[in-house]
Amino acid sequence: MTGSKASRITYTLDSSLDSVNRVEQTAEQVAQKAGFDDDEVFRVSMAAREAAVNAVLHGNAYSPDKRITASFETTPKSLVIRIADQGPGLDPATLPDPLAPDNLLRGSGRGIFLIRSFMDEVEFRMLNPGTELTLIKHLVSA
């Protein structure tokens, strides 16, 4: 693993699918640079994509007046990705379990579950307005 120095990139992006793709691509590049193997790079970039989809689609509802903020920080111990929107706010406690038998065949509702599956830590912070998701992947396994 590399990453003896901390580095940080921050973007403010419009509420579009292009922004989602940019977040995914940046996460992929940052994770590769941090020294993760291909499988972990995939997991990190997919988690970042899902967080960006939530921000653009469910948070900002594609509003041209709202922005998402994406930051990527590599510290000696972790890769930290923060995605924030300006939407009405997301309470993770209200999210249905996509693995429950009644929900298994639903056409949506797996994004946050995948983020939690792929990252070591996931934190939600309510903004006013909006939600910030912090996704953390440790560089060295505990």
């Binding site: 989602v20 899902e50 989809v53 693995l99 298994l104 065949l105 639903r106 995948l114 599956s117």
Partner: protein, 116 residues
């Protein structure tokens, strides 16, 4: 980022959709939805999705696979998956969908498994 490409062929009463690229929120998911709906509307109810060249699928794409599966089933059809890449296989495992779908890794046996 390029979206999904879909080409269609018929083998022994089964419509095979050879898919390549990314099935993600937006164009990729919509293309899959439209392709399956068109087939069902035309009465082609035995559908095999060949995902061998699908490089990436997100939660929206997974949801679209589920919707395609249930839509086909609700209309008296069958939809099976063929040639999953390791990443797609892993995603279906994590989401507990692997056992929901009928997943095949051989085209001939997949075609033979449809109830005709």
């Amino acid at each position: 980022m390029s979206s999904v490409k879909i080409s269609t062929r018929q083998v022994d009463g089964v419509t095979i959709l050879d898919m390549s690229g990314r099935i993600t929120l937006g164009e990729g998911s919509v293309q899959l939805r439209d392709a399956v709906r068109d087939l069902l509307a035309k009465g082609q109810k035995h559908i095999l999705l060949n995902l061998g060249d699908v490089t990436y699928i997100d939660s929206s794409g997974i949801g679209e696979l589920v919707s395609a599966f249930t839509t086909a089933k609700n209309q008296g059809g069958e939809l099976k998956l063929l040639n999953l890449t390791r990443k797609v296989h892993d995603l279906l495992q994590i989401t507990k969908l692997y056992t929901v779908f009928d997943v095949k890794d051989d085209e001939a046996s997949a075609i033979g498994a449809f109830k005709k």
